[in-house]
């Protein structure tokens, strides 16, 4: 049996190996353009055959005798005004430099004196030129030159920066990332105006050629982590990257674990704060979600607003959130365990009222909880996917069916409705969506354990959870790091948050290369002289 499986598996593997990737062969790597414009034109016309968005424009340089030129680019991704005003116009109507232009220095003259465009590259390789054109550069070919000029005049449609919908805050900056990688990286650069902020660009995906930027602060981020991130991204061999989630799945440490090991965020302030602490950020083109690594579990419990409100408020909110996490994970299972196995734990009067409410309910508590939780998850999922105009219908149905009808029909007990409602609210209190969804998934496991083994089952489940969390690492950093390994200095920014001036060191396991962060003893002090204003 086992042998048979391995045999089949090996066969499959070999089959996969024989299917070579044919896509790589369409563009010849080393082919170079020639001096003949007509021949070059033929090459590119062939490459961009049936690509409707590519336009070709042949024109003549305003010299005497005229030199033939050709420009081509991607329609819709170039700034048409700039192309006309700054590229085509100066070339066609050369003013005052007619005598200086000779056929042998056309290239340099065009590059250095004629085109007022900042970003200019030259290339000979056909593949590079075509890649550049597809990445929204304008290509210029000159008759008699075996070099092409690539001009950066890109300007495609992009969304305006708006407040991130997944991580709203009451106080804090209102800008969120958009789908353009360059805008996103520069948004971070605006916050960290230092040359230490390094950004390295890679291309991932055979077809999509998605731009990926690895951003970190030199001297703070661990070089080993940066190298590891780069290596893991370079190792990706795929045709398409649609979202940073795809990259995340390729590079995360433990693919079996449901726990998110990489933080994704839409907030530039959050990314900047993490960069300064020594994390590495990975920006992916075409998505507003930026990946941050390495992270610990407790980063998913933090919101950037914790740092903007006062430290007492921040701490209180974080404590509340930690409590919410426990409820979201264990709420229904504790209820099941206590009502089915350990009734003695409940005070007598409460026990009577629960027993009264459960009277006539046909299902055991576990089944009841399962029905309610599944219904709630269905409602939530439907609410997310529905078009907004119909969304209200779901909430009406949910409120009526779950809240009222199910109870009055005697299918579920009112106390179970309360438990499910509290759990649902608690699971939304977690600021990170991927973190919350894991808790929701594990909740069902715990409910099953509680229904079969009571509190003993819950303890075993917690034990399993601890073991799993202890074995996880995110880019070398233990996943539950301020607790295990115990680093008390990092508890300043954990479930409590000390005042900003007290957080004078970076996290020990992530930013240990540049440990000190700010001066000591910066606590605001009362003025030494007694102020007498308003008393005279």
């Amino acid at each position: 049996m086992f042998k048979w499986v391995t045999k089949k598996f090996n066969k499959l593997k070999q089959q996969q190996k024989t299917i070579e990737n044919k896509l790589t062969e369409t563009i010849v790597e080393d082919k170079q353009i020639s001096k003949n414009l007509m021949a070059n034109k033929q090459i590119f016309k062939q490459i961009f055959d049936r690509c409707g968005e590519i336009w070709f424009r042949e024109f003549e340089l305003g010299t005497n005798p005229p030199i033939k030129m050709m420009a081509f680019g991607l329609d819709g991704m170039l700034l048409t005004d700039q192309v006309n005003e700054n590229v085509l116009k100066p070339l066609m109507t050369i003013e005052g430099m007619i005598n200086e232009l000779k056929p042998n220095n056309v290239m340099d003259m065009v590059k250095n004196k004629l085109i007022p465009v900042g970003e200019i590259k030259t290339s000979r390789q056909v593949s590079k030129i075509s890649d550049g054109v597809l990445a929204a550069d304008l290509a210029l070919l000159i008759d008699g030159c075996d070099n092409a000029i690539l001009l950066g005049v890109k300007g495609c449609e992009k969304r305006a920066m708006s407040e991130p919908e997944t991580e709203p805050t009451v106080r804090g900056p209102r800008d969120g990332f958009i789908e353009n990688i360059l805008t996103n990286v520069t948004t971070v650069r605006r916050r960290i105006r230092s040359s230490r902020l390094k950004s390295e660009y890679l291309e991932v995906g055979l077809l999509s050629k998605t731009e990926v930027a690895i951003v970190y602060i030199e001297g703070i981020a661990d070089n080993k982590v940066v190298q590891e991130v780069k290596d893991r991204i370079r190792r990706i061999d795929t045709d398409m990257i649609l979202e940073s989630g795809n990259i995340e799945e390729f590079i995360k440490d433990d693919w079996v674990s449901p726990f998110p090991q990489i933080l994704s965020t839409e907030r530039p302030d959050r990314v900047s704060a993490h960069l300064v602490e020594g994390h590495v950020a990975v920006f992916v083109d075409n998505t507003p979600f930026v990946l941050i690594m390495p992270v610990t579990f407790f980063h998913f419990l933090q919101s950037s607003e914790d740092y903007y409100s006062g430290f007492a408020i921040g701490t209180a909110i974080r404590l509340l959130r930690s409590f919410a996490v426990i409820i979201a994970l264990l709420g229904p299972s504790l209820y099941i365990a206590i009502t089915t196995f350990h009734q003695a734990m409940i005070p007598t009067t409460l026990l009577f009222s629960i027993a009264k409410a459960r009277e006539g309910v046909p299902f055991p508590a576990m089944l009841e909880a399962f029905i309610m939780e599944v219904t709630f998850e269905l409602l939530r999922e439907a609410g997310v996917r529905l078009p907004r105009q119909v969304g209200q219908a779901v909430s009406i149905v949910g409120a009526l069916v779950i809240g009222d009808a199910a109870v009055s029909a005697g299918l579920v007990s009112p106390s179970m409705v309360i438990v499910v409602a509290i759990t649902a609210i608690s699971s939304f209190a977690m600021p990170s969506y991927p973190g919350a969804i894991v808790l929701r998934l594990l909740r069902f496991v715990f409910m099953f354990l509680a229904g079969t083994l009571g509190l003993f089952g819950i303890t075993l489940g917690l034990m399993g959870l601890f073991i799993h969390l202890c074995s996880l690492r995110s880019f070398g950093v233990p996943y539950i790091s301020p607790i295990m390994p115990l680093t008390l200095k990092d508890w300043k920014d954990f479930i409590i948050r000390l005042p900003i001036w007290a957080m004078n060191t970076r996290p020990k396991l992530i930013g240990y290369k540049n440990y000190k962060r700010m001066g000591y003893d910066q606590a605001p002090q009362r003025p030494k002289q007694r102020e007498t204003r308003g008393e005279d």
């Binding site: 196995f341 303890t459 075993l460 202890c470």
Partner: protein, 365 residues
């Protein structure tokens, strides 16, 4: 190296304390042993120096051969005979983990879950222990570091909540039967701390092996202090006569907790916390069984041993005794003390004597 994990001296200290303390917490075996009167809290404190003596032979061996486990030392000096002694230790650890599992199952089926068959608890616990053992010593050490504060905090909570039920007159008269029973009680208590063997066997995994002296001292200190606290709690709430007759005396004490008519019957939570601790104990003995066997047999990988040894542990724990009465007979101080001393003191001392006499060079294997 079979396992690349590393643990710190703090973690090994906590492992020793947890593994030793957690069974005491429920079974309180010292109530049935001498001095058999209200002086037993004195013997728990007196056990501190005696525990250090128990740990001494292991400490000497560990100091002499850092980065080598006891198995490797035995094998390199005694060859085949060393492997035989190694097998004895493997049996000892196997037996210990099966014993723990059985006691744990007995506790759960006696008190909170009388209708569930005992094999359910045992097999489920082993099922959860299997991945732990597969992850290796590093995860076990980390788990111990997480669970230790939880257990200590809960004991502290019990002390606070039970304070109003305690009657310190129960402690008097002190030294009713003279000093000798107290000392022998302390000796029996100390002999039960076979967990110092962990240091001998986990030496290759300890990060900074210079600190093992500190580790032994701290572990004995925490152990004798916490045993003293537990025995005082039980003694002052029940009195010695009642306490002796209860199988799970501390558990009964926790059941008495009642604050303000709504915070009561927290025994279920206590069971939960206790399960966490027992789990660490089962896991560490299970792991030691597996890794010792792998070392003796010179295996390259210990993973294939995990599942079969787990199955053996479960079946052994069921077959070892017919009932809890039989089990307690074996665990009583008259038999169990000598059984443990054989492994934790006698064999290491004999080996040290052998080395002192022969002054042999290690055999090259």
């Amino acid at each position: 190296m079979l396992d690349n994990g590393k643990i710190s001296w703090k973690q090994i200290t906590l492992l020793i304390v947890l593994a030793r303390f957690i069974l005491t917490l429920s079974f309180l075996p010292f109530f049935s042993a001498p001095p058999k009167n209200q002086d037993l809290w004195i013997s728990t404190i007196l056990s501190f120096p005696l525990q250090l003596m128990v740990a001494l032979p292991i400490f000497i061996i560990a100091k002499r051969f850092p980065n080598m486990s006891l198995i490797h030392v035995l094998k390199s000096y005694l060859g085949k005979f060393g492997s035989f002694i190694g097998f004895l230790y493997a049996w000892f650890f196997l037996h210990s983990s099966a014993l723990t599992l059985r006691e744990f199952g007995e506790f759960l089926t006696t008190s909170p879950y009388p209708e569930t068959p005992i094999i359910v608890f045992m097999s489920i616990s082993i099922l959860f222990a299997i991945p732990t053992v597969r992850y290796g010593i590093e995860v076990i050490g980390r788990i111990a570091e997480i669970i230790f504060p939880i257990i200590m905090f809960s004991v502290f909570l019990v002390v606070v909540l039970l304070a109003k039920d305690m009657d310190f007159k129960q402690v008097f008269p002190i030294c009713e039967d003279g000093i000798l029973p107290i000392v022998s009680g302390a000796f029996i208590l100390a002999s039960r701390t076979k967990e110092f063997l962990f240091i001998g066997f986990l030496m290759p995994f300890i990060k900074n092996s210079k600190n093992i002296k500190k580790s032994i001292i701290y572990a004995s200190m925490i152990l004798s202090l916490s045993s003293a606290i537990i025995s005082l709690i039980v003694l002052t709430t029940f009195g010695i006569e009642q306490a002796k007759n209860r199988t799970f005396a501390f558990y009964s004490a926790v059941r008495l907790i009642c604050v303000g008519n709504f915070f009561e019957r927290i025994d279920a939570i206590y069971i939960g916390i206790w399960v966490l601790g027992i789990f660490v104990r089962v896991a560490i003995y299970y792991y030691l069984t597996v890794i010792v066997t792998a070392w003796i047999l010179d295996l390259k990988d210990y993973q294939p041993l995990v599942l079969p040894i787990g199955a053996i542990i479960v079946s052994l724990s069921i077959l070892m005794a017919d009932s809890i009465v039989e089990l307690e007979k074996f665990l009583s101080y008259k038999i169990y003390t000598w059984y443990q001393l054989l492994f934790s003191v006698a064999i290491p001392v004999l080996f040290l004597l052998f080395m002192a006499i022969k002054k042999k060079e290690p055999k090259k294997t």
